[in-house]
């Protein structure tokens, strides 16, 4: 089977044997990363915990959502098929448009630092949220005009909730 990935901004094509990692399989097998052969001895000790041996070197790998930890370093990755890559290509044209400020975690709005229509600089504070006894200032991702303020002080917000829009 073939898996298309995006890691650290680079697209990767990985070809794996069809048989998968049967627990009974012993020894190394051949894979191809972007067409180059790599001989790997791979073993899944637990769900999400993988030991790879490549040329004697052993790598402990752990899956954490959309991140793979290898030797303690975190590598975010995404799985793609070609259609999605095509869609993404089109979507990049919109990045000059409005950008959202969203709540990164559940919490309570302590203060709104901007008003609708106000001009803001990139990284200027927009909303202050309190969660886990800590106040966190959320900043504008770009310079522009605040086209919408979606919350007010005292509001409870969930992770991902829209706080404001900057045009």
């Amino acid at each position: 089977m073939t898996v298309w990935l995006e890691i650290d901004g680079r697209r990767r094509r990985v070809e794996l044997p069809e048989a998968g990692l049967a627990p009974s399989r012993a020894g190394a097998f051949e894979c191809f990363v972007d067409g180059a052969a790599v001989v790997v001895d791979a073993s899944l000790s637990r769900a999400g915990v993988l030991s790879l041996i490549v040329a004697g070197r052993q790598y402990a790998c752990v899956l954490d959502g959309d991140v793979v930890l290898v030797e303690g370093r975190r590598f975010p990755f995404a799985v793609h098929d070609l259609r999605e890559l095509a869609r993404r290509g089109r979507a990049t044209g919109d990045e000059q448009g409005p950008r959202a400020v969203r709540a990164p975690m559940p919490g309570r709005v302590v203060r709104v630092l901007v008003a609708q229509g106000e001009e803001v600089a990139a990284q200027q504070g927009v909303v202050v949220i309190e969660a886990m006894k800590m106040q966190n200032e959320l900043r504008s991702p770009k310079a522009g005009r605040v086209s919408r303020v979606a919350v007010q002080a005292g509001d409870a917000v969930a992770a991902g909730d829209l706080l404001a829009l900057v045009d």
Binding site: W4, L5, G20, R74, F75, M132
Partner: protein, 501 residues
């Protein structure tokens, strides 16, 4: 024994209770029914809704539970009701022993301003500043002009870095004063603040004291707590790299003198700033068991909770000052649910995987488990990881080894930050002060780590996609079907795993 707390410290206290054969009673909020401290206890009672003000801060309700369960004593841990003199009095009034100092000592030393007056009374040097709470921002400005900027605003009640604001100039005072007062009000139910000179390049070093009801008080060496972010301790060590036997004796004796002058009983911590010339200045006293007490336990070989309980039973201290010897070096890392790459924003959520370090010289006081959903309502402390070894260098290297073993998935943590600090030459050389960590973070250094070939990362990711997605991996064998399916199946597996923990 009722433990009026949650998380790792509730567990820590119950462990010593069990070892001493004392039955344990847990209290829990609605968010904590499945918390570790509940399933560890012999008895458990719900005390209200998730917000601390509706549960862990409800002293009256907790006293009721204690009476109903027929307990002999309440241990408050740290935070919540630990330094609340009214609660201590309410316990006493209900005939329940409060594990901590008498309310009178708590009032005298727990209020930062009154503690500064007490320090003056025993001739202990302190940081210049106000000895009473500030009436308003005007008084704050006047006092700041008098002692000179920069100054630090601090909450008169409480601790833990809450209600603190550095003020570099008069212009910053109004906003800082309002922020400090409001945070103090929110955190401790008392908005009073005072100010003192901000000492640059100073170390935060604190002395652990322990006093019994018979007038004996000993100091158990110092803890180095200079590695702080936003006035919150991040790494603590014992002993300090810069405290020799003579300075330790001077600071220790001063701390005991202060405690004795207030009729102090049980465990307490006297915090100092120490400058480069070995001058020390009283900061405040914490009238409770401290978060970072394990480093002291490791270098002294003592069990501070057990000592607190024995003292509460009226027993005299088990050690005399001359019997207390420090051995080796201990370092504690406070593992928080926060995202160092996103301005240390709290990261509550479900822990999907937890691989914990162990082996020689490693102690972990952990309050969570794989499958546990870290609630948004409380302090994001997940665990205290402590390394002990013969020397400071060996302890640092041991901690690095343990951090390499630590995997916490599903939420963000500050584990990577510790790796960076412990590899930093300045930290390793012991050249730290209270501004050290903020400087390091501004330096925007590279996260260190082993070199990993790119194709290995790609292989690992591809194998996870292939193997975790579906047992028979039938879908993956037909490239024609596209990998979107694979991805969603893989997400399902992740979710399942989270639920199964």
């Amino acid at each position: 024994m009722l433990v009026a707390n949650r998380g790792e410290i509730a567990l820590r206290i119950m462990r010593s209770c069990r070892e001493m054969g004392l039955g344990t009673v847990a209290v829990y909020s609605d968010a904590d029914r499945t918390a570790l401290h509940v399933s560890y206890a012999d008895e458990a009672y719900g005390i209200g809704a998730a917000p601390a003000t509706e549960s862990y801060l409800r002293g009256g309700r907790i006293c009721e539970v204690a009476l109903c369960a027929g307990v002999d004593a309440i241990h408050p841990g740290y935070g919540f009701l630990a330094e609340n003199a009214e609660f201590a009095e309410a316990c006493a009034g209900a005939g329940i022993r409060f594990i901590g100092p008498p309310a009178s000592a708590m009032r005298m030393l727990g209020s930062k301003t009154r503690a500064r007056q007490a320090a003056d009374a025993v001739g202990m040097p302190r940081v210049p500043g106000s000895v009473t709470s500030l009436r308003d921002v005007e008084e704050a400005r006047r006092m700041a002009e008098e002692i000179g900027y920069p100054v630090m605003l601090k909450a008169s009640a409480g601790g833990g870095g809450k209600g603190m604001r550095a003020v570099l100039s008069a212009a910053q005072m109004p906003e800082a004063f309002a922020a400090a007062a409001s945070e103090a009000e929110r955190s401790f139910g008392c908005g009073e603040v005072y100010l003192e000179r901000l000492l640059a390049q100073a170390r935060h070093i604190e002395i652990q004291v322990m006093a019994d009801e018979h007038g004996n008080c000993v100091y158990l060496g110092e803890r180095e707590c200079s590695v702080q972010r936003r006035h919150q301790k991040v790494i603590e060590e014992a002993p300090s790299a810069v405290v020799g036997a003579e300075l330790r004796r001077r600071m220790g004796e001063a701390a005991c003198l202060l405690a004795l002058s207030a009729g102090y009983v049980s465990a307490g911590t006297v915090e100092f700033l120490v400058d480069g010339a070995e001058n020390f200045y009283f900061l405040e006293m914490n009238t409770r068991l401290q978060v970072e007490h394990p480093v002291t336990e490791l270098v002294t070989g003592l069990d501070l909770v057990r000592m607190q309980l024995e003292i509460a039973m009226g027993e005299p201290l088990v050690v005399r000052q001359e019997e207390i010897a420090l051995r080796g070096h201990a370092i504690e890392c406070r593992i928080y649910a926060e995202d160092p790459e996103n301005d240390f924003c709290p990261s509550p959520g479900r822990i999907t995987r937890l691989l914990q370090p162990a082996g020689p010289g490693i102690r972990e006081d952990c309050g969570v488990y794989a499958g546990w959903e870290v609630p948004v309502e409380y302090d994001p402390l997940l665990s205290k990881l402590v390394a002990f070894a013969g020397t400071r260098e060996a302890a640092i290297d041991r901690m690095l080894r343990a951090l390499d073993e630590y995997v916490i998935s599903g939420i963000k943590t500050n584990v990577g930050l510790f790796r960076r600090i412990l590899l930093d030459p300045e930290f390793r050389a012991g050249r730290i002060d209270t501004g050290y960590l903020e400087r390091l973070l501004r330096a925007d250094g590279e996260t260190c780590g082993a070199e990993v070939p790119e194709e290995v990362v790609a292989l690992a990711a591809a194998l996870f996609v292939a193997e975790m997605g579906c047992g028979a991996s039938a879908v993956h064998r037909e490239p024609g079907k596209g990998l979107a399916t694979a991805e969603s199946r893989w997400s399902d597996a992740g979710r399942r795993e989270g639920l199964r923990g």
